[in-house]
């Protein structure tokens, strides 16, 4: 288990994998992130984020079987690991606490 920080983009990517259901691959992830964030996302950024997440142990990948519509090329499919899931939840909870604190402070 390596460095445990999660950047914003990495968090989006991680959540996208979870949201798309496991065993998804780079193309749908890119589409999803682009749609949700409403900004242009390059495929290279997605690859990099996926690779970093995998390295940190939040994602796991396997090669899928060859699919006919991709010209017979196989693809790497990603699944969120339990660690990844816990990390995402922790992040979410942390944000909630902060928002709660803000709400109690009556600033909004």
């Amino acid at each position: 288990m390596k460095g445990q920080h999660l950047g914003e983009f990495e968090e989006f990517t991680l959540l996208a994998v979870r949201a798309l259901g496991d065993n998804t691959y780079a193309v749908p992830i890119q589409q999803y992130v682009e749609k949700v964030t409403a900004r242009t996302v390059s495929i290279g950024a997605i690859y990099a984020a996926l690779a970093r997440l995998e390295e940190k142990g939040f994602l796991r990948s396997t090669m899928s079987e060859a699919v006919a519509q991709r010209g017979g090329k196989s693809k790497r499919v990603y699944t969120v690991t339990p660690t990844g899931l816990r990390m995402a939840r922790d992040l979410h909870r942390m944000r909630e606490r902060i928002w709660n604190a803000i709400a109690e402070g009556g600033r909004s």
């Binding site: 290279g44 990099a48 970093r52 693809k75």
Partner: protein, 904 residues
């Protein structure tokens, strides 16, 4: 759209995306491209596509360690596996293994032999250590410069020098034999190159000792039982590397010495000395001193009035100019009271002030860099040529096998091997081959070096055995040629889809690039032609040289050298006395028909020439001879007469000229009584005499007595004055049929003066040696040329066999649509022989350049563009190449079209 746009694919290939994931990325990009195009149009899809491709650079993935990491352990493990695989592979194809190893080991062997001889000749650390600080001290006056000082002068220089250590050396030969110290001097002990040196010689040259100690100053005192330092070569050959050598007794000439040290390998200063002995022992070695006299410093020196070479080692930090000035001061005091040398005895030279010049480049037998270059460049050219040939051959054979191994490579690639991994395997294979070949090549070289040494007439003292330099050279060359030969098939197969051969289809539409293959064949053909042309030229030159009429009968002609020291070092009285007694003595020997003194003996290596002003390309030989020279040599007098004894005695200004010279300057008129034309400068031995142009009194037949290849017969003969007889040698003509004459003559001459180291040389033997030069070159280049042809044909055969095998289907189709056997044969032959034909042209062009530039001197009048040589080279190569191509081609074209087509 079935594929990504080409620029995107191209960019993707350049991107940092690892090869293994590239296909996946491409599929992703393609999917996105299609989706976007259908959603938002082609323009948007393209824009986003290139944006994505570029993002692969700007957003690199973190490196993930994978299984094929290039750690050292993995490399070694892989190499082991590759080696085992290579062993199995070559075990299945012993013929190819054999061919490759034979080719490579021949190439490496020849290259190693050439290198080690050159190494011994020029590169090895012959000279003193740090030679720029060990200059030679030249004896300089206003009008002369000499390397020779008298021993007295040296002693004074040594005592007077404050800025540098001054040492002296004298080179000579003497019979040497290790003994137990009781037996007397052996007359037939091998003559050995000797350095007579002053006490600090080894300190000044910086020589290191393998055993024992170098000389010290005190060693100069032991003149009667002198200490001896032997060279590594002497220790190896004469003492069998005796570890107890120090302390052994050794006979050097007449002296009974003992060994105090063995110099380290490679030290043989100056010029191939075998052992060193103190200068003070000169008398002990060579018998009673010639001049026992009261020398400088009041001590009686038992040394002859000998000339020594003086050099020194500058004291640390002293610039060369400072030492030169200081020593010149010492030298200036010498000129007055010194006895001087013979040449300096004339009153004009002695009174000009004596100075010294320090010359670090004159060196102690050290070659100048230009001389070195003149040897190194051609040798390296030959080495390069031979290696190129061997490499090209091995590469051809490996490519031939690689074509048949395409399927295997496909399987490897399919199982996940990267291209780099496959290349590594190929290089490992060829390096393994190279290592085996290097071993065989080294054995070959060790066996061939002494032979080549004999061929090139290397001095017997030279240490030709391979040393560290040679092993290093062999190692590097093996590595480079192994890698190059291994990379050739890899380069040849570049750009070819490794997977295609697996599918068994598309064999015709992707013909492997042929350019490299053709280039290799062409190179081999070119080198072969070059070598064959040279061999043929040399063979023809050999016949031409043997057929040259030198104008006299060399058999029965002998040249006698007195061996009484250097005539320039003394006034030569002893040599003149020797001749005065020797000539009447020899005239009584039965079987000697005639004899005469002459300054220059035929093919003796010394020449005196002058270049006429009207024809700078012409050389005119000048010879001073005794009266009987023409009779002894057997030259007919065509007009006029030869010298009379009176003319010889009185140094009359008369001359004989050769027939060619007479014809060149007088055409049909008679030259008799005419003065030698002013266009011909006459070399003056004594500058003090006013130049007198001699009068022609006779014309003799042409004779070639100097350089066979120049076939130059312009000669001027002048009488040899008795006062100059110490420069002369004696020419003896033995009557035909007489036996034992020369032994008899040698015995008598030695009895006249036991100190004389009389040497009698056969002129016929010298001539044979002169004639043998092209023969030896012919042998060398012929052997290499034949090897070249064999290699070329082997490579061509292997290559053609595999290529026609590949094209069997094509041939079958051609046959099926109506081509007959002749058509197929012609097609295949032309395809295979085209590079050979090209190579012949290139090689012939190179041969013209080479023979023009460097070989004219040894061709004895054979034209460098000799049509026979070029024609025969082309014919020979084409013939063997045709056979090499024809055999596999015939087999291929005879194949049954139907069965081939059914198979595939």
């Amino acid at each position: 759209v079935t594929r990504l746009p080409r620029p995107a694919r191209w960019l993707l290939r350049m991107s940092p995306v690892p090869r293994e994931t590239r296909a996946e990325v491409q599929a992703d990009l393609h999917e996105l491209f299609i989706k976007r195009r259908s959603d938002r149009g082609a323009a948007h899809a393209h824009w986003r596509l290139y944006h994505d491709v570029l993002s692969l650079w700007t957003q690199p993935r973190p490196a993930t360690p994978d299984a094929t990491s290039a750690s050292v352990f993995a490399l070694v493990r892989d190499a082991g596996a590759d080696l085992r695989y290579a062993a199995r592979l070559f075990g299945r194809q012993p013929a190819i293994l054999l061919l490759t190893i034979v080719g490579l080991s021949l190439g490496l062997g020849i290259a190693t032999a050439a290198f080690s001889i050159m190494n011994a000749a020029t590169l090895r650390g012959e000279g003193p250590r740090d030679p720029d600080r060990a200059p030679v001290i030249l004896r300089t006056t206003d009008r002369s410069m000499s390397t020779t000082w008298t021993y007295d002068e040296f002693l004074r220089l040594r005592d007077g020098s404050t800025r540098m250590q001054v040492e002296a050396v004298l080179t000579d030969v003497a019979p040497v034999r290790p003994t137990d110290g009781t037996t007397a001097a052996d007359a037939d002990a091998p003559s050995t190159a000797l350095g007579l040196v002053s006490g600090g010689f080894f300190a000044a040259t910086g020589a290191r000792m393998l055993l024992g100690r170098p000389f010290e100053a005190a060693d100069e005192q032991h003149a009667d039982s002198p200490p001896v330092v032997v060279s590594f070569v002497f220790w190896t050959t004469a003492l069998n590397r005796d570890p107890q050598a120090v302390g052994r007794r050794i006979r050097v000439g007449r002296a009974a010495g003992w060994i105090v040290g063995v110099a380290e390998r490679g030290f043989s200063v100056p010029s191939n000395r075998r052992l060193w002995i103190p200068l003070t022992a000169y008398g002990a070695v060579y018998g009673p001193p010639l001049h026992l006299r009261q020398g400088y410093g009041g001590q009686v020196k038992r040394t002859p009035d000998m000339g020594v070479q003086v050099f020194g080692r500058l004291a640390p930090g002293v610039p060369i100019s400072e030492a030169e000035a200081q020593l010149s001061g010492v030298a200036a005091t010498l000129s007055g009271d010194s006895s001087g040398l013979g040449a300096e005895a004339s009153p004009t030279a002695a009174d000009s002030a004596l100075r010294v010049r320090l010359d670090p480049h004159a060196g102690l037998g050290r070659m100048s860099s230009t001389e070195r270059l003149a040897i190194v460049v051609p040798v390296f050219a030959v080495i390069g040529l031979v290696l190129l040939l061997a490499c090209a051959n091995v590469a051809t054979v490996l490519i031939a096998t690689a074509i048949t191994r395409a399927r295997e490579m496909g399987v490897r690639a399919a199982l996940g091997a990267s291209r780099w991994r496959i290349i590594r395997q190929l290089v490992t294979e060829s390096l393994a081959l190279g290592a085996v070949a290097a071993g065989i090549g080294l054995m070959f070289a060790v066996w061939a070096i002494p032979m080549i040494g004999t061929m090139i007439e290397a001095p017997a003292e030279a240490d030709l055995a391979p040393d560290l330099n040679v092993y290093l050279f062999l190692g590097i060359v093996t590595l480079v040629s192994g890698v190059a030969a291994g990379l050739a098939p890899a380069w040849h197969g570049r750009g070819v889809d490794l997977l295609t051969p697996l599918t068994g289809e598309a064999r015709q539409d992707r013909v492997a690039p042929k350019r490299l293959r053709s280039m290799l064949v062409m190179t081999q053909a070119a080198v072969s032609v070059l070598l064959i042309v040279m061999a043929t030229l040399f063979v023809r030159a050999t016949f031409r040289a043997a057929a040259i009429d030198v104008g006299f009968e060399p058999a029965g002609l002998y040249a006698v050298a007195p061996g009484l020291g250097d005539p320039f070092n003394s006034d030569g009285a002893d040599i003149r006395n020797f001749w005065a007694r020797a000539i009447p003595e020899l005239q009584t020997v039965p079987g000697i028909a005639s004899l005469s003194l002459t300054e220059l003996t035929p093919f003796g290596g010394l020449v005196k020439t002058s270049v006429p002003r009207d024809a700078p390309g012409r050389l005119i030989w000048f010879k001073r001879t005794g009266a009987g020279y023409f009779e002894t040599l057997g030259l007919r007098t065509l007009a006029g007469r030869t010298f009379t004894r009176d003319e010889v005695r009185s140094r009359a200004p008369v001359a004989l000229i050769s027939q060619s010279l007479a014809r060149a300057y007088w055409q049909d008129r008679s030259p008799l009584g005419q003065v030698l034309p002013t266009e011909i400068p006459v070399p003056q031995l004594q500058p003090s005499f006013a130049p007198v142009r001699p009068v022609v009194i006779g014309v003799v037949a042409d004779a070639i007595t100097e350089r066979l290849h120049e076939r130059n017969t312009f000669a001027v003969y002048e009488p040899l004055h008795p006062a100059s007889e110490h420069f002369a040698q004696l020419l003896i003509r033995v009557s035909p049929g007489a036996t034992g004459v020369i032994d008899q003559a040698g015995k008598r001459l030695r009895s006249i003066d036991p100190q004389a180291n009389v040497r009698i040389a056969s002129v016929a033997a010298r001539l044979q040696q002169e004639e043998g030069r092209p023969r030896m070159l012919a042998t060398l280049s012929g052997v290499v040329g034949i090897v070249a042809i064999v290699l070329c044909v082997i490579g061509l055969y292997g290559l053609t066999a595999s290529v026609v095998g590949q094209r069997a289907r094509e041939m079958a189709v051609r046959a099926a649509i109506g081509a007959d056997r002749g058509d197929l044969l012609r097609l295949l032959m032309w395809d295979s022989l085209r590079p050979v034909a090209l190579g012949i042209v290139v090689g012939a062009a190179a041969a013209v350049l080479v023979s023009r530039a460097v070989l004219t001197a040894v061709l004895f009048g054979v034209s460098p563009q000799d049509p026979i040589a070029f024609g025969s080279a082309a014919v020979i190569l084409l013939a063997v190449a045709t056979v090499g191509v024809l055999v596999p081609t015939r087999r291929a074209s005879a194949v049954d079209a139907a069965s081939v087509l059914r198979q595939s």
